[in-house]
């Protein structure tokens, strides 16, 4: 950011912080460009995924039916919460063998990616700059690619279970006959409705997470700008607003992770039900 000579304006600061580090070496210009990868999003999501799985795996490999330690208890509470939710929504025990771990992974992974928001907004990007990394966004869920990637993953699981439970023929039949009824005139309407439903589910699923985290990140940046004014009022404002928003954000990151998990379960549960 720091172009030699002058400090960035507020607008430059925000734009800089919202720019992904990608393989093209500069900010992406077109809205969709499949030749570009966001290195920061991938790095942080893989890193956090690996860390969360490492801890879950450690708890799992040491799990005993005897008296559990604190760490094991904590993981067990989490697993039991997810298992209960899955049991209430997905009624096939066979499917739950895949769906419940999916829900657990999604919850823990998203929660930890969201939690990156609680680090000071400038901490990691500034460290990156010292090593010559020009851009860095640390919250992988505040990248639309990250959030939509996961929601499309859930969509693929939904399609898989639709075909598995109803058979390819049964599912295609359902696509054309539900929700309005089995009549040739209604086939196109039904099909369009179904497509809109899938599209709306998936996009709203990913967008809800992305929107919340993006907005949260933006507010943290605005608060950081207050402190950046280097006045007494700005400093006090930064401390007060930053504290309040960070505490409130603890609720948001947990809630968003939980909502994403619950919606994933609900959508997969719907794939099990015939209309």
């Amino acid at each position: 950011m720091a172009t030699a000579g002058h400090a960035p304006t507020s607008s430059e600061y925000i734009v800089h912080h919202l720019t992904q580090l990608n393989t093209s070496g500069h900010a992406q210009e077109s809205v969709i460009d499949w030749s570009i990868l966001n290195i920061d999003t991938l790095f942080y999501s893989v890193l956090i995924g690996a860390i969360s799985l490492y801890f879950l795996w450690r708890a799992a490999s040491k799990a005993t039916s005897g008296v559990p330690g604190r760490f094991q208890s904590a993981v067990e509470i989490l697993v039991e919460m997810v298992a209960d939710q899955a049991k209430g929504i997905v009624h096939s025990a066979e499917s739950r063998k895949f769906v419940a771990p999916l829900a657990l992974t999604v919850f823990v992974w998203i929660f930890l990616m969201n939690a990156m928001d609680l680090l000071p907004v400038d901490l990691l990007p500034r460290i990156g700059e010292m090593f010559g990394i020009p851009y860095m966004r640390v919250v992988a869920t505040a990248d639309l690619n990250g959030a939509l990637g996961m929601s499309i993953g859930v969509l693929l699981v939904c399609i898989y279970y639709n075909i598995k439970i109803k058979g390819a023929k049964g599912w295609i039949h359902e696509l054309f006959t539900a929700p309005f009824g089995n009549h040739p005139l209604l086939y196109p309407v039904n099909f369009i409705m179904q497509m809109i439903e899938f599209l709306a589910k998936t996009i709203s699923h990913g967008m809800r997470l992305f929107g919340n985290m993006y907005a949260g990140e933006l507010v943290f940046m605005l608060i950081a700008l207050l402190g950046g004014t280097a006045t007494v009022m700005g400093f006090v404002g930064h401390v007060v607003a930053g504290t309040v928003w960070a505490i409130f954000h603890i609720l948001i990151i947990t809630l968003q992770a939980f909502i994403f998990m619950m919606l994933a379960l609900v959508y997969i549960g719907q794939a099990h039900e015939s209309h």
């Binding site: 795996w57 799992a60 993981v75 771990p101 990637g149 996961m150």
Partner: protein, 157 residues
């Protein structure tokens, strides 16, 4: 907020993480949870059984105590009865012995009195005879009056 190939990569990462969790995280934890639930259930069942056993044993103890008390009572009653029987028998025996002793003593006393009477009578007869003899020495012929004297002696007896 641009879309790019990160989306696909994130999709792949998503499935890798899910499969890892499904294979290595979920099963051991759920297994441990189920096992512990079973252990707890077994423990509770054992505790219930132990409680029932204890209640049963207590009931048995009360029953045994009752029986013991009852038989102790029986023993005492029969002992008392036996003792009173023995006392009664002893009393009767003593009575009998006293009566026999009294009877024997009375008999002996009677015999002794009789004997004394006879001896006394004999001596009186002899004394009477001697006196009469002294008085009548000259006038009475012992031989002639022997019959008379014998009669007198007879009467005195």
């Amino acid at each position: 907020m641009n879309l790019n190939a990160t989306l696909i990569a994130q999709l792949v990462v998503f499935f890798i993480l899910v499969v890892f969790t499904m294979k290595f995280v979920w099963p051991p934890i759920v297994k441990a949870l189920d096992e512990r639930a079973k252990k707890v259930a077994d423990g509770l069942a054992a505790a219930d059984k132990a409680k029932a056993d204890l209640a049963h044993a207590e009931k048995k103890v009360v029953e045994e105590m009752r029986k013991a008390r009852e038989s102790a009572g029986d023993v005492r009653t029969s002992a008392e009865k036996q003792a009173s029987t023995l006392i009664d028998e002893a009393r009767a025996e003593a009575g009998r012995i006293i009566a026999a002793a009294r009877e024997a003593a009375e008999g002996e006393a009677a015999t002794a009195a009789q004997r004394a009477k006879e001896a006394l009578r004999d001596q009186i007869a002899i004394l009477a005879l001697a006196g009469a003899e002294k008085i009548l020495r000259k006038e009475v012929d012992a031989k002639a009056h022997a019959e008379l004297l014998a009669n007198l002696k007879q009467e005195l007896q």
